[in-house]
Symmetry: C2
């Protein structure tokens, strides 16, 4: 039986770096499949007045230190705090939406997160984005053009709308049935839940 | 060598129920001591405009469901969502401050959290608080009078001020040296850090 956990994420979320770097290996080991679903969490957060770090420097500082320690704990490279926030126009995320439809979303998302966190390259930077797409064997012009198309913009919006209707408000979120597991630190909970509630 | 982790908490924090119910057993197993330090996290949160649930019904609902699942995971009883918020005047927390000075803070805090979560008894309710104090072998009148004294009020304030200066903004927070671990779900990280950084 195929077990599939929805992995809702937003390129620009900080803790999502940890998930992007580790969920595949764990899911494979546990016999669980993941469906990578990029969505516009920032729109939902603004709408719900849920801004965990904007104007909260003490909490922000603690988050980065926690990220660094958690990365070390997981054996995930962490160099320094990258520029943040990123992707104001949503291009990097719309490329992820296209990639999710075409089957190369994990590779792209991992590459863009690694470059963001380890080389401080903004995911939406045009030259950098083209370089990543080339390395993935994609035509940069055609891909960016598709990511800018109405079809992909609408898909991004509809995925965001669906996430919101499901009660999702943060990235990463793992969903199994009606159960919402928010946060990289709840991925193991989601896996255990999926395995113990197979139907 | 004595290893002591500061356990900053506020009676009224939801996730603190999980910590109060489980940290002693784990700390004992791991050979780590805990110093229970009640503080007024709500004052810090208001000052820092950090209100995770006020006006955020979607996030609030997710938190309670997560609490319930986590309680089940840990084998901690969870009956239903209790009334929230509690202790508007700070009496229940000031009793905890007194208890922390006199050595009965864990017993009191566990008793008041159990009653809040399992019987929906507000920690500050006078009749209920007196009953808890009696069961702990304390004189209710004398204890409440001390908790209302200037000395204990000042201690509550100074502990809160110190927590704020340390960069603490949430409950529960575990602190070892300069490292801040925020959240019940970071207790194991704090333990591991303390054990691997003994000096």
């Amino acid at each position: 039986m195929l077990r599939e956990i929805d992995f809702f994420f937003y390129i620009g979320s900080t803790y999502t770096y940890l998930s992007v770097s580790r969920v595949e290996r764990i899911a494979a080991r546990e016999g669980v499949s993941l469906r990578w679903r990029p969505f516009h969490v920032r729109a939902i957060m603004i709408e719900q007045n849920n801004r965990p770090f904007v104007g909260k420097p003490v909490k922000l500082q603690c988050m980065w230190r926690d990220m660094e320690r958690r990365a070390n704990r997981y054996g995930i490279p962490f160099k320094s705090i990258p520029d943040y926030p990123v992707d104001p126009e949503g291009l990097a995320n719309r490329v992820a939406v296209l990639a999710s439809l075409e089957g190369w979303c994990p590779e792209y998302t991992k590459a863009t997160y690694r470059a963001w966190f380890l080389e401080n390259k903004a995911p939406e930077d045009a030259q950098h984005l083209r370089s990543i797409l080339s390395r993935l064997g994609k035509d940069p012009d055609a891909t960016i053009s598709q990511a800018d198309s109405q079809k992909i913009r609408q898909r991004y919006d509809s995925e965001t709308e669906q996430a919101k209707e499901l009660g999702i408000f943060g990235s990463p979120t793992f969903m199994w049935g009606a159960e919402i597991f928010w946060g990289d630190d709840r991925f193991e909970d989601a896996i255990d839940w999926a395995k113990s509630h197979p139907s």
